[in-house]
């Protein structure tokens, strides 16, 4: 299979970034929007073409072939070298499709959403930069290349969250996101160094080669009960936890909603935040075979806890984008736990497939939810649920597409989310009953908060709107319709044919009893939401009072932010940093300033030597000769 043309997929956005970034003042906004959309459209078509060829033609003896295309960039030692290249295998091809699809849709949508904004061209150049970085991350052939793009993705996320840089809250959110993920990435980097030190390679192909002896060699050195190599893997996973906003590094994601809504749809719902999931999937054999999958069980529990906590918090939030943010976190928790409970071969690797399947369908319906929310925000200029109500009359397309997405995420039978969620639950049921029960609860909670949102926005009484809300323009509704289509029919793609941990196809079928349980729970959640929020009533206030303290807890997101603030402000800044600052100022700085002053003073003292008289110079010359001669004879004699 000829894969060289695939390099165009990331290069097109890069070219767009350079073009739009350099000439942001010269290119008129309307043209910038067109160029961006057309460029991403091309990348989208190329990705579809790649997927079509790969999934239908790259099988040899029932196993999907992996294609690599790389060149050595930096050589550290005979064995250890860093490459730049492309890795084409089922999950990277799938991610290409996901990233370009959502990016393309968001580009088209932004032409309407961002219309008239001052930084319109700048916005599109950032979007292109992000798309390039994300595609580079997806195609990376080795850990180091992935790390580089990982950071690039973080940087472009920073730029886009802080896009409204005159707004203090946006700037603070951008900083928060960057610092929190960067902190997690520190673990990632150390993890890469540890893993490459023991394995002698950055390359995914070599790391995932499954020779038992090799792994025994790698894990020979132990530290605190685990092998150092395992610690390295845990640290690598820490990077994934930060990027995917899992507990305990999830605090940046809700704040990141300060960015423009299309950005939230692209980065903080569909693509960047699933990078952590992709990272684990990318190294899945390694995670699975090292120490009997110990790290994988950490992945499973972190995923399960995150998904439960996020779903609970989502119920009480009033900002519609924040509800969606917590929902994203919850769903990514699903993907993580699916990977965590997965095994390697054949049907036992169901969790791996389910995770990727859910990643795909989630990208579609969550992007749709965000873009729909954006459409609502565009119409009434508010994020607060309290300012909304009865919008179904004014915005029919947004209403219907939002409903489809909500049904899909709630796991209503027949919609895409139903199928992928069912696979995850089946995988959890087979391997870990505790996680299964928690996942079913999350399914119910998801349905409840999602329909709370739906009924709150589109039903209930009309609020007093300053202007009569109206449906969004065509550039915004077309992406909605396309994604709604995918949110329904995306579930009918036979994923297990294409994606599996051991690269061999297997057949998965609907597990009827589990499906019935899950959808019943989901429907109960929907019904509860109907009772509570369809019409104005005081049921929700009553429930609030009933739960009392617990409600306050969840409303404040379990005080995670406050705990972190206490640790950073009081302990780190207040105690540790103050002492270090004192040392820096009065010892290090004082010494350096002293050196500078002495140098200057000395320079001032010797200034007079240069008298300007040529006879003095001659004296110095002759003196120099004499001194040199004396010094040399002295040294030579000794």
């Amino acid at each position: 299979m000829n894969i060289s043309y695939i390099i165009l997929v990331p290069l097109i956005p890069l070219a767009l970034f350079v073009l739009l970034g350099l000439f942001s003042k010269k290119i008129p906004p309307s043209i910038a929007g067109w160029i961006g959309s057309l460029g991403l459209g091309t990348a989208f078509v190329l990705s579809l073409y790649t997927a079509y060829h790969y999934f239908l033609g790259a099988k040899l003896d029932g196993v999907y072939q992996t294609f690599t295309y790389k060149s050595t960039w930096i050589i550290f030692s005979d064995k250890l070298h860093m490459d730049m290249g492309m890795l084409i295998d089922p999950i990277s091809v799938m991610m290409l499709v996901v990233v370009t699809t959502i990016s393309f849709m968001v580009h088209v949508y932004s032409r309407g959403y961002m219309k008239g904004d001052d930084g319109y061209t700048r916005f599109f150049s950032y979007l292109a930069l992000f798309s390039f970085s994300m595609l580079g991350l997806v195609l990376a052939t080795n850990l180091f290349q992935m790390y580089i793009f990982w950071e690039l993705v973080g940087a472009s996320s920073f730029l886009l969250i802080g896009y409204y840089y005159t707004k203090p809250s946006a700037v603070a959110a951008a900083k928060k996101a960057f610092i929190v993920t960067r902190f997690a990435d520190l673990g990632f980097l150390i993890g890469i160094l540890v893993v490459s030190y023991y394995s002698g390679s950055f390359d995914f192909g070599e790391l995932n080669s499954l020779d038992g002896n090799v792994i025994t060699n790698w894990t020979a050195t132990s530290f605190m009960g685990l092998s150092v190599f395992t610690w390295g893997l845990i640290l690598i996973f820490m990077g994934g936890v930060g990027k995917s906003a899992m507990m305990p590094f999830h605090i940046w994601l809700p704040d990141a909603m300060e960015g423009p809504t299309p950005v939230s749809a692209l980065i903080h719902a569909a693509t960047m935040v699933v990078a952590g999931v992709y990272l684990v999937a990318r190294l899945f054999p390694l995670f699975y075979f090292v120490e009997d999958g110990f790290v994988l069980s950490i992945v499973a529990y972190i995923g399960a806890i995150s998904s439960l906590v996020a779903a609970v918090i989502a119920i009480t939030q009033t900002d519609i984008k924040r509800v969606l943010a917590f929902s994203t976190m919850s769903q990514i928790g699903y993907m993580m736990l699916a990977l965590g409970v997965s095994k390697y071969e054949g049907h036992e690797g169901l969790g791996y497939m389910a995770s990727m399947f859910h990643l795909f369908t989630h990208a579609m319906f969550k992007a749709l939810l965000f873009l729909g929310a954006g459409s609502v925000i565009h119409a009434i200029h508010s994020n607060e649920l309290a300012d909304m109500g009865g919008l179904r009359k004014y915005m029919p397309i947004t209403h219907i597409t939002f409903l489809i997405a909500a049904l899909s995420i709630a796991g209503f039978p027949g919609f895409a989310g139903f199928f992928s969620k069912d696979e995850i639950l089946a995988a959890a049921f087979e391997n870990n009953r505790l996680i299964y029960v928690s996942s079913v609860i999350v399914a119910g909670l998801t349905a409840f908060y999602m329909f709370r949102l739906y009924f709150g926005i589109f039903w209930g009484k009309d609020k007093k709107y300053e202007h009569t809300p109206h449906e969004s323009p065509l550039t915004m509704t077309i992406p909605l319709i396309f994604l709604a289509f995918m949110s329904v029919f995306g579930g009918y793609i036979p994923f297990s044919e294409f994606i599996s941990a051991d690269l061999k196809s297997f057949t998965s079928h609907l597990d009827l009893p589990l499906a019935v349980i899950a959808s019943t729970v989901g429907i109960i959640g929907i019904c509860l939401a109907y009772v509570f929020y369809k019409k104005e009533n005081n049921l929700s206030e009553k429930a609030t009072q009933l739960f009392g303290a617990f409600y306050q807890w969840t409303f404040h997101k379990f005080y995670f932010d406050e705990i972190y603030l206490f640790i950073t402000k009081k302990i780190i800044f207040g105690i540790l940093a103050a002492a270090i600052a004192w040392f820096d100022k009065y010892v290090v700085d004082a010494f350096m300033i002293g050196v500078g002053n002495v140098t200057m003073a000395f320079s001032n003292q010797i200034k007079g030597i240069q008298s300007g008289k040529v006879q003095d110079y001659a004296m110095a010359f002759v003196g120099g000769v004499v001194v040199l001669a004396m010094v040399v004879f002295y040294i030579w004699i000794n």
């Binding site: 040529v614 110095a620 040199l628």
Partner: protein
């Protein structure tokens, strides 16, 4: 010896032909044609420089008095290229001020004569040829330093230069006579075979070395530098700091590595002491300079101190690093002096304070100045960084770790004063900043080539590899 073997001297013969042609041109041209000498000289010099790129066999002439090899040819071409840039940068100054006095042709002839001297000096195979070359480089420059006769400072600088250099040459030739007395030969090759470490030979070497140290402005033989640079026309100061110093460094290296190989235990100590003294003197004095010409004078003293680090590893690595550093230094310094020249001729201002706010009015010149100063300071990825890095590597390869440390300390000090100029240009606000002006085409070309040199020498590694590959030729 057949006539063909004279081709070994093609650069020198070409240069001589240009000088003679210009002399005749001066005789037979009328007042209106005088200005044409500038493009004419540029054109001829450019051709002569290009000829230097043609391949050439190694060889010697006059029984070994004149030697040539690939490294020398490369270095001559670099010097010639440097003079070309210098002439481009001075073309406007010549046209506006000197042509009117009927002295433009002389200026060029003197400049090229000095360059011819530099060529012979570095190609020397014996002390006699070396001395003739040294004098031929020095004497025309004395006239050039005093070229702006209407300025008192220029005349003063001229007399200071001629007196100091007379002393230096005298010392040097006295040293040579002592050395002749101990060995009975002037040829480097024969000299190297018979010389032994004795009191007389050491004294001879020190005297000889002092003369060259004067040319390179090593401490304590550097005192003339600042005064002469300040008084001389800017392009002459530039010539002194770049061409004349570069040539002297290379011949010092050749002499040390060949003729005085036996004396290495002695001269490495001398170089060691002088390197430290020169770096500190150059840097500490540069800290307080206000006048940019004086500032660059001390900066060039400090740079000379750095070059000595490369001499200490008397091998292929050492000679490659020295030649590379000198080439880099030529381009960086020409860039800095070029900007000073451009600004001085537009506004007559030469002080660091005057440069405040320059970035707002003349962004391109400021950027170029920054590039040149950063290269001199040794900031990656500019050429100066690699130059310094290789010098440190060469010194460290022979175990001179303390010296490398002192070098790094001095590089840090130098960063301070280079940044002082950059800060004045970029960070200071000044309502009376030098107003925007447009440079003429020659000046632009001269500055552009210097800037390109700074970038290309740093980023294009085959250049260094080529120098390294031909550095084993002596």
């Amino acid at each position: 010896m057949n006539l063909e073997s004279f081709l070994l001297m093609r650069s020198e013969i070409g240069l001589l032909a240009i000088i003679l042609f210009l002399l005749i041109f001066e005789l037979f041209s009328n007042q209106k044609q005088k200005a044409a000498v500038i493009p004419l000289a540029l054109f001829l010099l450019a051709i002569n420089t290009l000829i230097g790129f043609l391949p050439l066999t190694e060889g010697e002439l006059f029984g070994g008095m004149f030697k040539t090899n690939a490294l020398l040819v490369l270095f001559k071409t670099t010097l010639s290229f440097g003079v070309l840039i210098l002439l481009l940068q001075s073309a406007d100054w010549l046209k506006e001020k000197i042509v009117a006095e009927n002295k433009a042709t002389e200026f060029i002839i003197l400049l090229l004569s000095s360059l011819l001297g530099a060529f012979y000096m570095i190609s020397a195979g014996d002390f006699l040829m070396f001395y003739i070359g040294l004098e031929l480089t020095t004497l025309p420059v004395a006239a050039l330093v005093a070229y702006e006769t209407y300025k008192r400072k220029s005349a003063e600088a001229g007399i200071k230069y001629i007196l100091s250099s007379a002393l230096a040459s005298g010392t040097s030739i006295f040293g040579i006579s002592l050395l002749y007395a101990t060995t009975g030969t002037l040829f480097f090759d024969a000299f190297a075979e018979v010389i032994t470490i004795s009191n007389l030979s050491i004294l001879g070497f020190i005297l000889f070395f002092s003369g060259l140290a004067f040319k390179i402005s090593l401490a304590p033989f550097h005192f003339w530098t600042a005064d002469v640079y300040e008084g001389a026309p800017i392009n002459v100061a530039s010539y002194l700091s770049v061409i004349s110093k570069g040539a002297a460094v290379v011949i010092l290296m050749i002499v040390l590595f060949t003729a005085f190989k036996t004396l290495m235990p002695i001269w490495e100590k001398i170089i060691y002491i002088v390197a430290i003294a020169t770096m500190f003197v150059g840097n500490l004095f540069a800290l307080r300079q206000q006048n940019l010409k004086r500032f660059l004078a001390y900066s060039s003293i400090a740079q000379a101190g750095f070059i000595l680090l490369g001499l200490l590893s008397a091998d292929q690595l050492g000679s490659a690093t020295v030649v590379y550093f000198v080439a880099v230094y030529i381009f960086s310094n020409l860039g800095a002096f070029g900007v000073v020249q451009a600004i001085s001729s537009a506004s007559n201002k030469e002080n660091i304070d005057d440069y405040e706010g320059l970035y707002r009015t003349n962004p391109y010149l400021s950027l170029l100045m920054m590039l040149a100063l950063f290269s001199l300071a040794g900031i990656p990825p500019l050429a100066g960084f690699f130059g310094k890095f290789f010098l440190y590597a060469a010194a460290a390869s022979k175990g001179y770790y303390v010296l490398v440390f002192i070098g790094v300390v001095n590089a840090t000090i130098s960063l301070y004063y280079y940044l002082l100029v950059v800060r004045a240009m970029f960070l200071r606000k000044n309502p009376d900043a030098i107003p925007y002006f447009k440079s003429k085409i020659y000046m632009k070309l001269g500055l552009l080539i210097a800037a390109a040199g700074i970038l290309i020498l740093g980023l294009y590694s085959p250049f260094y590899e080529y120098i390294f590959s031909i550095s084993n030729s002596f």
